[in-house]
């Protein structure tokens, strides 16, 4: 174990000091030359970590001002190019509305901006419009629906309206009937949400949907 730690510590130091060259800077080489004096794994590792810092500092001191500036510009340019991909992947993603299930709120083919993060921090709320992944016959696609019930809510239907915990929902976003086809009463299980399309009776329904399938919350049309 100690031998392995010492070997790894030495390799790390050599890499930091020399990189792909045969010989590194004087100071890095100086730390390297003292490495055999260390004893034990822990001491060797400490020596190497300090040596890496020394080598980095030496390299930085050796670079000219122009080289430092060039490097900064290159890093800034790389960040500027790559950051939008990161944003799109983890924070905000455009989503195509795949069907008429959310009519009239969402028209099929429209693009909406999806927020992938905030619902993980604040939780979902009633009436949020969410996108989630469905897998059917081995094919994965994205569905968009509205959150009607959260875990623990009792969802049901009466007289063509949707009930949540016994109260009729006020749903100003609907154009047609409120009750979905085949409305079975249900208490929303933990770890899931109950969702419906705004086009009740037209949209296929899959509730309850596991929370870990939710990809994000739709914010605004693009």
């Amino acid at each position: 174990m100690t031998g392995l730690v010492r070997r790894l510590a030495y390799r790390m130091l050599v890499l930091a000091v020399r990189g792909r060259r045969d010989r590194g800077g004087d100071w890095g080489e100086a730390v390297l030359a003292e490495f055999p004096g260390t004893s034990g794994g822990w001491q060797a590792l400490r020596w190497s970590v300090g040596g890496v810092r020394t080598a980095l500092r030496e390299r930085r001191a050796a670079r000219s001002r122009a080289a430092t500036l060039r490097r900064r510009i290159a890093v800034a340019a790389a960040v500027a190019v790559l950051a939008p991909f990161g944003v799109q992947h983890w924070l905000l993603t455009p989503v195509y509305v795949p069907s008429a299930a959310m009519a009239p709120t969402l028209a099929p083919g429209d693009r909406w901006l999806m927020d992938r993060v905030s619902f993980r921090l604040t939780g979902l709320r009633h009436a949020d419009v969410v996108a989630f992944a469905r897998v059917e016959q081995g094919r994965r696609f994205t569905a968009v629906r509205r959150v009607i019930g959260l875990a623990g809510d009792e969802i049901g239907c009466r007289d063509g309206a949707v009930l949540r915990n016994g109260a009729v929902l006020d749903e100003p976003y609907l154009a047609g009937p409120a009750a979905p086809a085949g409305c079975a009463p249900m208490t929303v299980p933990a770890g899931t949400v109950y969702v419906l399309g705004d086009a009740r009776g037209v949209a296929r329904e899959w509730s309850p949907v596991p929370l870990d399938r939710i990809e994000g919350r739709l914010l605004t049309r693009l």
Partner: protein
């Protein structure tokens, strides 16, 4: 008040170790052991002192076979004078915030 250079507890500990025998050329690892400074603290100080010609750094062929040459350090005349001055100034803690040699924090 502008900061006076070469007054940090770490630098003072290094000065004390180098002044113990000012004419002897010292190895980095031995200095690290004597001062209790980690390599990442010690070597940047050595680099700075050498750049300012307070320290004389040189390579010395190793006596052990198969071992690469080792870097050695010795205070220059100027460096030794400055080191004595700094240590003398630090010993009697005239200012409340003056760095005391014995209480230098571990690196």
């Amino acid at each position: 008040m502008p900061r006076i250079p070469h007054t940090s507890p770490q630098t003072l500990r290094l000065f004390a170790a180098l002044l113990a025998d000012p004419t002897r050329r010292r190895y980095g690892y031995d200095l690290s052991r004597e001062t209790g400074l980690a390599s990442g603290t010690l070597y940047p100080i050595l680099m700075r002192l050498t750049r300012q010609r307070l320290l004389d750094a040189d390579w010395e062929a190793s006596t052990e076979p198969g071992r690469p040459p080792r870097h050695t350090y010795r205070l220059t005349a100027e460096g030794a004078a400055l080191a004595r001055e700094r240590l003398a100034a630090a010993r009697p803690p005239r200012r409340a915030a003056g760095p005391a040699l014995a209480t230098g924090a571990g690196a």
